[in-house]
């Protein structure tokens, strides 16, 4: 009797629900999505297409008649020595920042899981702080610390060890690595907390079982921790490939403006210079299109590989 009544209620419930869902199927979801869609189309996708269009013209930001030049902007950019240098530097940035902001945090996360929970929270709180700071503030503070004469780094080193460090930001061989260091200093907290969270989330029973079977720490890392981390690590690498150039933009702009001798410029900075320092929209747009093609295809390949890897883990 009661069961029957329950079933009745359930059926009614189901009906009402379906009715409600059907009724809402009309326009409500589209209305809720409308503001977001409009914003994204107007300020991301439309300008994105416009960039392709602008790249075919010779024009400048200040106005003046634009002249159709076809693919000439692309040819000009590809032949430009600065472009080749910027491309090469972008690869160095990606490599350097991947090592410093993904691999090193992995090692630190492995240390961090071994200390007590209270200390974990304290260390993590400190180590994540730079992520929150403005790139421009970070750059200015480091500019001060690294000042070759009065900066605390050079003063300390010469007082304590008698070393004379070169002017790191003005030396063509060290400048790019200094920028990579500063950028990584700011960003490594992101990878650290993500990797840490995954390691902490690994089921303790796996680890205990492995330990009882006499596995060494290194074996546990290779056969348990690392495989479980692979999806995240590939995501972080993808993320770094896509964004390393942008993260470095602030420090480059404040500290070196691409110099000395273009050794620290990268594609993003060159794009900015062509667009907003030389006011050359056509060439800047051509550069933007090439940037997108390279990064976009890189991202798609990476996502594809990531997908396969995740399936493999399952």
């Amino acid at each position: 009797m009661l069961a029957q009544e329950m079933r009745q209620v359930n059926r009614e419930h189901e009906n009402v629900r379906r009715q409600a869902l059907r009724q809402r199927r009309s326009v409500a979801p589209y209305l809720f999505l409308l503001p977001g869609v409009i914003l994204v189309i107007v300020w991301v996708y439309y300008p994105f297409l416009q960039t392709f269009w602008l790249s075919l013209f010779h024009g400048n930001l200040v106005g003046g008649p634009a002249r159709f030049v076809g693919l000439q902007n692309y040819r000009l950019m590809l032949q430009l020595p600065e472009f080749q240098q910027a491309l090469q530097n972008t690869v160095i940035y990606i490599f350097g920042i991947s090592v410093c902001a993904v691999i090193i945090p992995l090692c630190i996360a492995l240390l961090l899981v071994k200390v007590s929970p209270l200390m974990q929270r304290i260390y993590q709180g400190f180590l994540f702080l730079p992520v929150m700071l403005a790139p421009i503030v970070v750059s200015i503070i480091w500019f001060w610390l690294l000042n070759p004469v009065q900066g605390v780094c050079s003063q300390l080193l010469s007082h304590l060890l008698g070393w004379n460090i070169p002017d790191l930001l003005n030396d063509p061989t060290t400048a790019i690595w200094t920028i990579i260091g500063i950028t990584s200093w700011q960003m490594f907290g992101v990878s650290l907390s993500l990797i840490f969270a995954v390691i902490i989330g690994i089921n303790r029973q796996y680890l205990d079982a492995a330990r009882i079977d006499g596995a060494s720490e290194w074996q546990i890392f290779c056969y348990i921790t690392l495989p479980l981390l692979t999806p995240l690590l590939s995501f972080l690498l993808l993320y770094t490939v896509l964004f390393a150039g942008q993260w470095a933009f602030g420090p480059i702009n404040v500290l070196t403006q691409g110099g000395p001798g273009n050794t620290t410029t990268n594609i993003y900075y060159l794009l900015y210079q062509f667009g907003f320092v030389f006011f050359n929209t056509g060439e800047a747009s051509a550069l933007a299109v090439m940037l997108f093609l390279v990064l976009g295809s890189g991202a798609i390949i990476e996502v594809y590989m990531l997908d396969r890897k995740v399936h493999y883990d399952n």
């Binding site: 300008p47 180590l127 503070i141 907390s193 993500l194 991202a299």
Partner: protein, 275 residues
């Protein structure tokens, strides 16, 4: 046995030494900036860890050189408006994705996801030209509205909203609650902590934003503190005390927010990244 415990202790301290060293590397620059900002001119170049005669001289200097009050207010307004805007847009979109099945759902989600693949630098020139045509350069709408177009908030909230129990929604439907009332009085109150964390992150990100204000604003009194810092650096690259004072003013709000909500901020970052 004793050698084993000794090794254990040594390893433990070794770990702490590495971690503490790292924390020093992270904290020292910020600490040094704050200390330098309070040192009078004759002490700025000394290595002492504290200002022996702390003074506000540097702060007076920057306030005299820059319209800092206006800049801080501008930055604050921009950050609040962008945070609120992104929150509203993202909440609506994420709610639509959670609540209904509808035609084109996946395509629309990809539309938002795709924005993450397009670097800002690619769209910035056309956006600048559009603003110029609209006459929006150096205006509040020009500064804030383009910054609202991001898929990040939607992406993050959709993950969080998906954990929301469907039974509660059904109960609301049976009670006859309309979609807006349901959002307002059922979904949002249960998502308070998630929304607060997102709001804090958005606020800090916008507060730190530098590229867009640099392009859109004209003149020191209508720009943000980050742009002001850059200008001040270019004009007085040797006034280290004053530069540090300006930097400290710019990072203080972020630092305070971070100290207050540090755990929630890190947790929100982790949640958004791991999924």
């Amino acid at each position: 046995m004793t050698t084993k415990t000794l090794e254990h202790v040594l390893r433990g301290t070794g770990r702490h030494i590495v971690l503490i060293g790292l924390c020093v590397v992270v904290i020292f620059p910020v600490f040094w900036a704050i200390v330098t900002s309070f040192k009078p001119a004759n002490e700025v170049f000394s290595l002492s860890l504290f200002a022996s005669h702390p003074s506000l001289e540097n702060y007076r200097d920057v306030f005299a050189a820059l319209p800092l009050g206006r800049m801080l207010i501008n930055t604050f307004c921009m950050a609040v408006l962008v945070t609120l805007g992104v929150l509203i847009v993202s909440i609506c979109a994420a709610y639509a994705f959670m609540r209904w099945e509808f035609c084109g759902k996946n395509a629309l989600f990809l539309l938002f996801l795709g924005t993450l693949l397009i670097p800002v630098q690619v769209t910035i020139i056309p956006n600048y030209l559009t603003l110029a045509q609209l006459g929006w350069l150096n205006t509040l709408p020009g500064l804030t509205i383009p910054q609202l177009a991001t898929g990040l908030g939607i992406f993050y909230l959709r993950q969080q909203f998906n954990n929301f129990p469907k039974e509660v929604l059904d109960a609301g439907v049976i009670d006859g609650a309309g979609p807006l009332r349901m959002l307002w009085s059922v979904v949002l109150p249960n998502m308070r902590s998630v929304l607060a964390a997102l709001a804090i992150i958005l606020f800090i990100q916008t507060w730190n934003e530098y590229f867009w204000p640099l392009l859109v604003t004209r003149g020191l009194s209508s720009t943000t503190i980050q742009v002001g810092l850059q200008v001040f650096l270019q004009e007085n690259s040797n006034a280290w005390g004053a530069l540090m004072a300006a930097s400290v003013l710019s990072l203080m709000p972020v630092l305070v927010l971070y100290v207050l909500a540090q755990r929630q901020i890190i947790a929100a970052f982790v949640r958004s990244g791991i999924q």
